[in-house]
């Protein structure tokens, strides 16, 4: 699965997350670009990233910083 994540670094929070099936890779890539162009036009300085994993659980484990706050990251190894 593919996960398109828009993340506000200063707040440390995900603003939007959209998932795509593996076969929709091109659409996911286009969506990533369109989101980035839109945010740039609106002068919104969020991080936009596309991740690929077997499940949402997997992406939450390998990219914890997007999903967890500092307390959660610090208190639980995984």
């Amino acid at each position: 699965m593919l996960f398109l994540i828009e993340y506000d670094r200063q707040r440390g929070k995900i603003i939007t997350m959209t998932s795509f099936e593996d076969l929709d890779r091109l659409f996911a890539e286009e969506s990533r670009l369109e989101l980035e162009l839109d945010r740039n036009k609106k002068a919104i300085d969020n991080e936009v990233v596309l991740l690929e994993a077997s499940s949402e659980e997997a992406v939450r484990r390998t990219h914890r910083r997007y999903f967890e706050d500092l307390t959660e990251l610090a208190t639980s190894p995984n």
């Binding site: 596309l50 500092l70 190894p77």
Partner: protein
């Protein structure tokens, strides 16, 4: 594809404009195309890792624009030299597994270069990175133990919410010292656990003798110490990190 058509000079000029913070739509589209030029190599590497090595990595087909710009600004490298435009990450339990996974991945690919950040940490960041060169493109495979991963995620979160300089060795002295100390404790613990498991395997004890049991329990204490410092960091900075006041 545009990315494949851009010359090295054009790519580096694009990098220069990004570094200066001039984000025109045309440049974002050109960067997107350049990143997509890594797709073939990325997909091939992911497929080998899944099918031949039997691991389930989380892939990041293209480094985010924000991360690319940050890297261009803090390092004196050119966009065409960036080795982690495409990459993926694998989390393993401990150093033994980390070594085994790194060795398996090295065997699975013809052209690799290993960066062992356990021996040479980057501002406390420890991991093993394998750069796989495929179809003339580099794909970075990050192999982290759970403890290395936890440290890295805490450090990155602090960089996001408190001070971006933290990730690159800067930031307030107290937080820097706590992160550095935790990183060293993780390193020591992981090496001890690695040696310990090798010793146990070699001796083949039926029952662990007292001194070995004592050593084993010291690892639990060390893990507690690491957890306590991370808790302290979270207590000190979580409120600050989540404060909307930072946005004003």
């Amino acid at each position: 594809m545009l990315g494949a058509q851009l010359s090295k000079t054009q790519i580096d000029r694009l990098g220069d404009r990004l570094r200066e913070g001039r984000l025109e739509d045309a440049d974002l589209r050109a960067l997107d195309a350049y990143r997509r030029a890594f797709s073939e190599a990325y997909e091939s590497v992911i497929q080998v890792i899944r099918e031949e090595v039997g691991l389930e990595p989380t892939g990041r087909p293209a480094k985010s624009t924000k991360s690319i710009i940050d890297k261009l600004r803090r390092e004196s490298l050119r966009l065409s030299q960036m080795q982690d435009i495409a990459g993926c990450r694998v989390i393993v339990s401990d150093m033994r597994s980390q070594n085994e996974v790194a060795a398996s991945l090295k065997r699975a690919f013809d052209h690799t270069s290993l960066v062992d950040r356990r021996e040479h940490p980057s501002h406390g960041y420890r991991a093993v990175h394998l750069i796989v060169t495929n179809a003339n493109r580099n794909v970075e495979v990050q192999i982290r133990t759970e403890l290395q991963h936890q440290w890295a995620e805490v450090s990155e979160k602090l960089s996001d919410t408190v001070d971006i300089a933290i990730k690159y060795g800067g930031g307030e002295q107290d937080i820097r010292q706590m992160l550095d100390r935790t990183s060293k404790l993780v390193a020591t613990l992981e090496v001890h656990e690695f040696d310990f498991s090798a010793h146990i395997a070699k001796r083949g004890y039926r029952e662990l003798p007292d001194d070995v049991l004592k050593l084993q329990s010291s690892f639990v204490m060390q893990r507690h110490e690491i957890a306590e410092i991370l808790d302290e960091i979270a207590e000190m900075f979580s409120e600050k990190g989540s404060s909307d006041a930072l946005l004003n």
